[in-house]
Symmetry: C2
Subunit: 454 residues, 2 copies
Amino acid sequence: MSRHIAFGVILTGTGGPGEHNRWLDPEIPGDASVDIDWYIEQAQLAEAAALDLVFIVDSQFITPDSPPHYLNRLEPLTLLSALAARTSRIGLVGTATTSYNSPFNLARRFASLDLISRGRAGWNVVTSGDGGTAGNYGRDEHYDYATRYARAAEHIEVSQALWDSYEDDAFPRDRASGRFLDPEKLHATGHRGEHFAVAGPLNIERSRQGQPVIFQAGDSEPGRDLGARYADGIFTHAASVEANRAFAADIRRRAAEAGRDPEGLRILPGAKIVVADTDAEARDLELAQHRLSNTFEQALAELGRPFGWHDFRQYDLDAPFPAEALVHAERSFKTQATQITENAVRQGLTLREVVERAAAPHRSPFVGSAQTVADTLEEWFRAGAADGFNIYVSTPSQLRRFIDEVLPILRARGLARTAYEGTTLREHLALPAPENRHTRARREAQVGALAGAV
Amino acid sequence: MSRHIAFGVILTGTGGPGEHNRWLDPEIPGDASVDIDWYIEQAQLAEAAALDLVFIVDSQFITPDSPPHYLNRLEPLTLLSALAARTSRIGLVGTATTSYNSPFNLARRFASLDLISRGRAGWNVVTSGDGGTAGNYGRDEHYDYATRYARAAEHIEVSQALWDSYEDDAFPRDRASGRFLDPEKLHATGHRGEHFAVAGPLNIERSRQGQPVIFQAGDSEPGRDLGARYADGIFTHAASVEANRAFAADIRRRAAEAGRDPEGLRILPGAKIVVADTDAEARDLELAQHRLSNTFEQALAELGRPFGWHDFRQYDLDAPFPAEALVHAERSFKTQATQITENAVRQGLTLREVVERAAAPHRSPFVGSAQTVADTLEEWFRAGAADGFNIYVSTPSQLRRFIDEVLPILRARGLARTAYEGTTLREHLALPAPENRHTRARREAQVGALAGAV
């Protein structure tokens, strides 16, 4: 575990996931999601505070009912590359799907971002939820759940193999001898798996952090296994200290079972942060912000998402919840749709009541005065419920209050850094740079030969 | 035709295509191809001179014998996005293959670059030459020639349809009414073609130049047709004024046959430029630079490329050229391999002689004193052999000589701009921003209805 609480900042433009009206806040420009200067400003603010990383979410499927930030946004890797050129220390983590990218192309783009940023790239591995995404990639249906996770695992393995194509001393670049490459240090990949075949090698060297940092956010059983096996960082929901401590323990147990060092993982719950002068004012502000998320009509449309974007507007709002809608549920949202349906049937809720509850404010644990927020963050960190937090704030002024009011309290307690000590994302997160697999194999073979000789 | 000669600068790091030892020049850092600061410096130099664009070549297949810049380089779109954040006016053109990218992903990345750069993105469409590329994308063999070009055409058409997903006034972003999107101005793509099926819409709006600029460089029959039908800009070899004038006339004829305005195309031959105090010194410098390109051994290995990377080192150098090697020729290099073989047989050359001739200096027409180079560029431009040039210089000091010595002569003649007049790449190239197809259809329907009413 790191000495410091790690902090990521979820950068969005015109509102986050499911937020339809955030852009009505006067602080949010209507074109924030496609304005690179907006992102640069937020990232530079976070970097000036020596935070660990900025994080970009993604999706590739929209309908006219999608929230504004979904409708129209910059693509994560081109966005992060621009940020790399305007920042120097902060980590740059982008979401990309293993379902609809070829391993060679995606591994190459992350490796390139990693070099451009001089070792600050991170990849949030997703398999894509919305079934409609398939239609943008020549498929009638999305991959089934098992296939998606199997592809994700193989995709990560191929990517990591590609990233090790060159050993760190592969390029002598010796002008005296004219020797540019040491061909012994270049390794083809030769991968032929169930889902991908990639000959390699990749045409790009490793960065100073060795490989991009892998993040993962799946909360299902296969999601937890995937994260525990491959991820350096885990994003998850912030439910409660107890639930998140149990989650962290479960992930570390799975990591140990997979033969990994369980302390080599950073678990970062997503933390909606609202800071005001008093706890009461902060709660009022949270409620006011929430009112900007969804109208009833938007919540009604949004309810359709786990049900394969089923249109609930066709039903009588005051009749019992239409449980038959469950047949439309997407595979990836099946758990969520089933919970909503079973809960509605058990409690005898009408459709209107289900929508109202879905639209009701989720009270974040991280809302209050700066003192309260700092205390809560510390409590979670010390309880082992979090190694850090991926924070979401609604406005730039809230990011400034977090930086100017909450962070100084944590710094005074030795829980947040005052300045960067390293230059790479792995260094920020106190994660070792992975040794190149071919270098390690050679080293181990030499040690073995030496042992044999003795 | 534009008033000005258009200028692109081919940005490479440790040497260009086929150049093995350029990095031995003291001006070229050994890690230039993976150093973003190197690219930023060159791009800013070109922008300060108000040149039209920088251009990034690409490939996705290497062997240990590949030239240094191929072995290890940044990926074009992440690279260009970083350049977008450190420049403000110069066009940013990147190479990407239609053979191994999905239209949705690639169109999205170019659209994102186009917004990040505020209308400066260009796409050099290629189909990938090296057969070995297939192995990095799960294929045993590269697509055959006809398929590659059919995919390219369909890929461009889908991309352009995706780029028109939102009409330019699709986002009222009206805070008073809370209306973010006008759903009538959002259009699905619904493409189901022979090679691609893409439902759309794309989740990103158009830039101020409407759509990224399409470039194409194929010189074969299908390549010329593809360029004439879809491209805004054509890259080609600079052979001679006569040959290039004929090429330009041929392309414009094909464009007219495809129903396009033949003057709506910019033809930019690649121009290797060498400037010195006198013509003789420039020729000497060209020869000295050439000696840094290839050793005999490297030229022998490089000869294998059009022959499917066939290894010619197995043959007696002083025996007649092994014409049987032609059976290994890649489809995409068949013409080149056949020419080499037939020429060798006709002239009775040994393998050594073929390699020596292949490695012999190509004398560029654009080598001389600043006055000579300016005169030659003007001659080509006035003769209709070129609308501009995609220039390649070996070193930063040569780029500075071009900018400091050649450009002022052209400016004095009114043939080069002294400062940017527009902000987008289309404006630099005097190309109109394409109207959104759905806006045009609505406008044309309204005109039709009006005519019917009268």
